[in-house]
């Protein structure tokens, strides 16, 4: 491998280190969850007098899918709401917030769209019509799409996992419609939502008063508490 090639790879890794880091820990946590969940599932099987199942069968089961999807949907809802809320609401002194006089969608000049787009602007920022509108809201659209898809996956896998347990308990299964109105579905959903909303709310408020030197998520260490929107 040539020195130029190696240098290019190293540069790519450095420039994408944040995404690579979280991608790696995500995969590690998901794999860890699959083994822990497999162990719990087989403990239940054994307690019911049934043979244990293999890892591959577990990770393609409704039980594992529901457990993954219920966490994904709440994370994407968290970001969906946070991205939307930070357009319209401010938090004085928070680096997560805009200035109070900048609420809303802002001017085309500030947003560098249409005639205000630069030579390096994405093409759909420069054009007009539907393409600019879609690109202007593409982050919300994708976050919202993943939220809806994973919440749907939670409900679809969840009803199967719920009904599997119902049958093991010698109780009647329920339909999907009955399940999405059930306490089990909303208990799983809301316990995830409360923690997500607490997390972003805490971040918005704590970052008013607390600092982490060098993080763009924090104000500069010496910035005033009422200094809104400053990055560290």
């Amino acid at each position: 491998m040539s020195g130029v090639h190696t240098a290019a790879i190293r540069r790519a890794i450095r420039q994408n280190a944040l995404g690579l880091f979280f991608g790696t820990v995500f995969l590690a946590a998901l794999i860890g969850q699959s083994f822990a969940g497999w162990s719990v599932f087989n403990d239940t099987q054994t307690a019911e007098g049934l043979d244990p199942i293999g890892w591959l069968e577990y990770v393609t089961s409704s039980s594992f899918t529901a457990d993954v999807a219920e966490n994904w949907q709440s994370e994407y809802l968290q970001f969906l709401l946070y991205i939307w809320a930070t357009v319209w609401f401010v938090q004085r002194g928070s680096p997560e917030s805009k200035e109070a006089d900048q609420t809303g969608l802002e001017s085309d000049a500030d947003q560098e769209v249409g005639p205000h787009a630069g030579p390096r602007s994405p093409r759909w920022a420069a054009v007009g019509g539907l393409r600019r509108a879609v690109f202007s809201h593409s982050l919300l659209l994708v976050m919202g799409g993943v939220f809806v898809a994973s919440w749907a996956a939670q409900s679809a896998a969840g009803v199967v996992a719920h009904d599997e347990q119902q049958l093991l308990d010698l109780e009647a299964p329920v339909t999907w419609v009955q399940y999405v109105g059930s306490a089990d579905f909303w208990n799983r959903t809301l316990q995830n939502w409360q923690s997500e909303f607490l997390a972003v709310g805490s971040m918005a408020v704590l970052s008013v008063f607390l600092r982490e030197r060098g993080s763009p998520e924090s104000k500069p260490v010496g910035a005033a508490h009422d200094d809104t929107g400053a990055a560290g």
């Binding site: 420039q15 409704s62 917030s97 994973s150 199967v160 599997e164 119902q166 049958l167």
Partner: protein, 148 residues
């Protein structure tokens, strides 16, 4: 918060679409294993039919071979006889309506005439956990044979 945009290569739309497709597949693909595929449901139906036929034909040993271990123990505890003889003493229903089979994950219910059979998958086999079960409002089914 307003940062100066950091110059980076513009990502291709194809790349974004590929990632979205991967996410969709990752979410949707495991669902194919969630509820019963055709062969799984057929196997549950076969196990229920075989159990009912064994009861109808007084083949106690064959019927016991299709019970989960806890159900075999329940037969022995209830009838104070070995399973092959005791299971016939319970006068369990010998007909099932296999068209009314519901499979959810690794558990199934097959309805008969006014009663039901509960099955569970153990390894790759379907075994009977409870038989002669009648529904009870807001409570588990009441079963003649209960191996749960």
């Amino acid at each position: 918060m307003h940062h100066q945009p950091i110059p980076t290569p513009v990502r291709s739309r194809g790349g974004i679409l590929a990632v979205s497709a991967l996410l969709a597949v990752t979410i949707v693909a495991p669902l194919t294993g969630c509820s019963a595929g055709g062969s799984t449901r057929a196997a549950a139906v076969d196990a229920a039919s075989d159990f009912a036929a064994a009861i109808a034909d007084d083949r106690g040993a064959d019927a016991c071979a299709l019970l989960v271990p806890d159900a075999r123990q329940a037969v022995t505890d209830q009838t104070h006889r070995d399973c092959a003889d005791g299971v016939l003493d319970l006068h369990l229903p010998s007909t099932v309506r296999t068209t009314s089979t519901e499979v959810h994950g690794r558990a199934a219910i097959v309805h008969g005439d006014g009663d039901a059979l509960f099955l569970a998958r153990s390894g790759s086999s379907w075994l009977v956990r409870a038989a002669g079960c009648t529904p009870v409002t807001d409570a588990p089914f009441d079963c003649v044979l209960d191996g749960s």
